[in-house]
């Protein structure tokens, strides 16, 4: 009897909208926004607030459809830079739009999840960096699906020996996303947080503004080595992506 009461309580705690989309990507309160796309990506939007994660530490609010409609063409334009074959290789199929995305109370632009082939995006993320943020998060999906290709230790050796990254991206105060005038091996302050963020920042500029990268590496040997490493490593996955 005690066990039965325990399960009844447990089932009530686990009370979520166990619908067909939850069954697939394990995110509740989500509906289809746009299903048919040339690169097979599927766009979903939060129809209600949701909390996910083992400790329910990832939270996001329902999307305002008019807000999403106004931003969707920019979002779609950026995702259309990737073909279906590449997206399959990096295990990305579902883009979930929501607002005020946070992890453990810290606001963030996107949360990638290769296991569920999902990228959650906050459509209210700073519009100045929004497009770059999309590619930044996609890089994290590339890296986690091809960790053997992107060697963080090797990448770190391109820096001056006196430089040290922080232990994690959230335990650093190096958060500014503005492009440095004098790069000295790093495109932004956020690049200095971890090797993974450094790589993701380079990739995001390569996808959104190749000219800037071309200009910056002319007089920055460290950055040039890093960019070459990213290009070389990406070519192992897909020769045509850059």
């Amino acid at each position: 009897m005690k066990i039965l009461i325990f399960f009844i309580l447990l089932f009530q705690i686990l009370h979520v909208n166990a619908d067909e989309i939850y069954n697939l990507i394990k995110i509740p309160n989500v509906e289809i926004y746009k299903l048919k796309n040339n690169n097979n990506i599927r766009y979903l939007n939060a129809k209600g607030n949701f909390k996910i994660g083992v400790k329910m530490n990832i939270a996001c609010d329902k999307v305002n459809i008019e807000n999403l409609n106004s931003k969707f063409s920019v979002i779609e334009k950026n995702f259309n830079l990737y073909n279906s074959g590449f997206l399959k290789k990096i295990k990305l199929k579902y883009i979930v739009f929501c607002e005020n995305l946070s992890i453990s109370g810290i606001n963030t632009g996107g949360i990638p999840n290769n296991k569920n082939r999902t990228l959650i995006l906050d459509i209210n993320f700073n519009q100045e960096y929004f497009e770059r943020m999309i590619h930044h998060e996609i890089f994290h999906m590339i890296q986690s699906s091809h960790s053997d290709v992107f060697d963080e230790n090797k990448f770190s050796t391109f820096n001056e020996t006196s430089f040290n990254y922080a232990k994690c991206s959230t335990c650093s105060d190096r958060l500014n996303l503005d492009l440095y005038k004098n790069t000295n091996g790093f495109l932004t302050e956020y690049s200095k947080s971890t090797p993974s963020e450094d790589m993701a920042e380079i990739f995001s500029f390569l996808m959104t503004d190749k000219k800037i990268i071309k200009e910056k590496i002319k007089n920055d040997k460290i950055l040039s080595n890093k960019v070459n490493y990213i290009r070389f490593s990406l070519a192992k996955i897909d020769k045509n992506i850059l």
Binding site: F11, Q12, H15, A18, E20, I21, L24, I32, N116
Partner: protein, 216 residues
């Protein structure tokens, strides 16, 4: 000498009211509570189904659900499904995951049998026959009554669990291995107990028997 007493008008009305109330209570408790009352049972003797190697009959509380299997689309998956049916491994299997008017899921051989339900492990059980590679079809539309092999979040993890859609679910296209389609008895599946929006169903309904038609 006992005189017969005629009932007054108000007594007659009271009597009729009591009779009506009794009928109402009886109907509520014994007839309307019977969820299978207005459901077609699909009696096999009356259906005169054409004998085929790809027709399976799932017997539930409310009647028979007739499923046509599609070996041309998913040969390995259908072969596995038939083996599990022929070994009677689905008998007693609980519909532990049910989303109202959306889908029903059963087939956990290890932890999902009604005689041996393990609520803490249900959904993770194995058949003992090994995992299968996903056989995905970009053309198969998961319309109402579609039967698909369930899997974990990873592909190539199909084993024995299956689901049946109760409405069209476009997002499942290319995501799950199709097994077949319900050709009779979809309304029976809508009567299966739901979890009232919870992930799992407590004290779930179950499959009585699951047989290939040619073995009946």
């Amino acid at each position: 000498m006992i005189k017969s007493i005629k009932a007054s008008k108000s007594e007659k009305i009271l009597f009729i009211f009591l009779i009506s109330l009794t009928i109402f209570i009886f109907t509520s408790f014994f007839l309307l509570k019977n969820k299978c009352l207005f459901v077609e049972k699909n009696n096999l003797d009356k259906l005169k189904l054409k004998i085929s190697n790809n027709i399976a009959v799932m017997n539930l509380e409310c009647g028979n659900v007739i499923i046509e299997l599609y070996p041309d689309i998913s040969p390995k998956a259908v072969e596995r499904f038939k083996i599990l049916i022929e070994k009677k491994m689905y008998d007693g299997s609980a519909f532990y995951k049910v989303s109202e008017n959306t889908f029903v899921q059963a087939g956990d051989i290890e932890y999902g049998n009604i005689d041996n339900l393990d609520y803490s492990k249900i959904g993770s059980g194995k058949s003992g026959l090994g995992l299968l590679k996903s056989e995905l079809s970009n053309d198969f539309i998961f319309a109402a009554g579609s039967v698909g092999f369930a899997r974990t979040t990873e592909f190539d993890t199909e084993d024995s669990e299956f689901f049946i859609t109760l409405k069209e679910i476009p997002i499942y296209q290319g995501e799950y291995t199709p097994l077949g389609k319900v050709i009779r008895g979809l309304d029976i599946l809508t009567k299966i107990k739901t979890g009232n929006k919870a992930i799992y169903v407590l004290r779930p309904d179950h499959i009585n028997t699951f047989r290939m038609l040619n073995s009946n």
